[in-house]
Every structure is written in structure tokens, then in C-alpha cells.
Point group: C2
DNA sequence: GACATATATGAACAGCTGCTCATACATTCA
DNA sequence: TGAATGTATGAGCAGCTGTTCATATATGTC
């Protein structure tokens, strides 16, 4: 029955109705938000950064202690902290020649916690 | 006072006590868990996959509809669905030559929702 | 001032990711 | 059976990521 050009666009046969497809499309997240969300998850999608954030969940730490705790070079950690700073996941407090990093947003702990529960469940 | 080799290991001067450092280290997440969590976030850290999951949050969809809704080629979507399947974030139901994908774990919606709130707040 | 310490950064490089394009597979229909 | 359809997959490649190594900067100490 629907051999219209509209139906041909969605030739799959499930959603015959282009109008319905358009309605669903409108309900999706807008692109800028998708990018922001993906960027946030990208930032959380690295073992070193997860470790750093887990460490900071215990409280403020200086760079060399973080490096020692996560088992990475201070340089590597510094590079990662730079990224975490840029995305406002951590903040710095400078005291003399030391830099003390802390979580800038405690929602992150929630996300880490939820992710942890998720991976534990399906183990 | 602490010029012992132990103190030299953590020469930074913040955590003079190696014992304290060891205690903190024990409180950190074990490596396998860190990897699993990072892998989960890695999976969520891509715009196309976020879009796919957002689409599936509305309900089961076949591949070509997903492709149309997220604005990507069916091939690209199929590749991503393969990854999402491998990490058990989505599941398939095959009917004839169509494949209907759905979220396999509704915790994911929670994570997406939390991330969305987070990026909206700091906008 | 000269030197050590704590952190930051740039360059370079290996490994990974996500796309496209071509192709294979499976199912339905003529 | 042959052709069309819906999906899956392999190869190839451009772009990105995370590390190391060398170096720079800034503060504190002598």
C-alpha cells in the first residue's frame, strides 16, 4: 500500500510512516548535547583518569602523590590532570610549588559509582 | 626528619608517611574494576553510540530506522551495534531479515540521564 | 646569584577508533 | 531458482589518544 516516495526513504518496512519517523526524531537529544555527553564519557573512558578521580574521591592530593597512588609517571598524570581541568572535572589549588588537585564536581562520584555497580552486576 | 629511603620514594613532601600512602592505596579500586568501568565509559564516549542509545531509550528499533534516526549509514550503525552488543548494552531480536535492537540494561538510561544533567548544569 | 624541587608542556610516536567501501550472508518474494 | 532486501563484516585509512622523553617554568633554599 505505501509505495509513495516518502515510504521509499524508510524502505525498511518497520516505520512505514515518515511522519512517525519525524516525530521520533524530534524527541531525540539535540546534537550539541550529544557531543557534550559523549565528551564527558570520553573523559571518563580511560583507566588512568578513572584512577585519578577515584583517588581524588578520597580528598585533595598533590600531583606527585596522585602519580604514586595511580602508579603512573608524574608527567603522564600532569597531562591527564590538564585534560580533567579543561573539562572542569577537577580544580587546582596552588601552594608554593605544589599543586593540590580536587574533584570540582561531585556528580562525577555518582557516575563512577553507578558505573561500578553496573559492571559488578553483569560480572 | 624523614630522610629515610621510604620517605625518599614519596619525596613530594605532602604525604611524608609511606604507611599512610599504602593505606590510601589499599582503598583504591582494584585494577580489573577500573578497566571495566573505563571500558563502559569508553563505550558511552562516542556521539553515534550516545545517539543510538538515546534512540533505543524510546523503544525497540530495526537497524535501518536507527540509521535514519541517528543520521548515519546503516553500515556505520551496524558496526556500532556490534560493539554495543559485545558489551551487552543492547540485545537483538531477529524477525525474518530484520534485526530489532533494544537496550539490554536500563541502568544505561540512568547514566545517560545523569551525564545529561551534569553537562546542562555547567553550561 | 646558583641550585634543587614540583609541576607543566611540547614533540614524537605507537596504538586505537570509527568511518567508508566493497562484499558476504540470510531471508523473502517472484 | 534468481533477484531483491536487510543486515553483518572485513579491509583500509585518516584522525585521535595516551604515553615517554626532553625541556620549560616557577617556587623555595642555600
Amino acid at each position: 500500500m505505501p509505495s509513495t516516495p516518502a515510504a521509499a526513504a524508510a524502505a525498511c518496512g518497520h516505520l512505514h510512516d515518515t511522519r512517525e519517523l519525524a516525530r521520533l526524531k524530534r524527541a531525540l537529544m539535540p546534537s550539541p548535547e550529544v557531543s557534550s555527553i559523549a565528551d564527558l564519557f570520553k573523559m571518563l573512558g580511560d583507566g588512568t583518569r578513572v584512577r585519578i578521580l577515584d583517588t581524588l574521591a578520597q580528598g585533595e592530593r598533590c600531583v606527585c602523590d596522585i602519580a604514586e597512588l595511580v602508579g603512573m609517571s608524574e608527567s603522564a598524570v600532569s597531562h591527564q590532570l590538564r585534560l580533567l581541568r579543561a573539562t572542569r572535572l577537577v580544580r587546582v589549588r596552588r601552594v608554593g610549588r605544589q599543586a593540590f588537585y580536587a574533584l570540582d564536581d561531585h556528580h562525577i562520584i555518582g557516575l563512577l559509582h553507578d558505573a561500578r555497580r553496573h559492571v559488578q552486576e553483569q560480572a
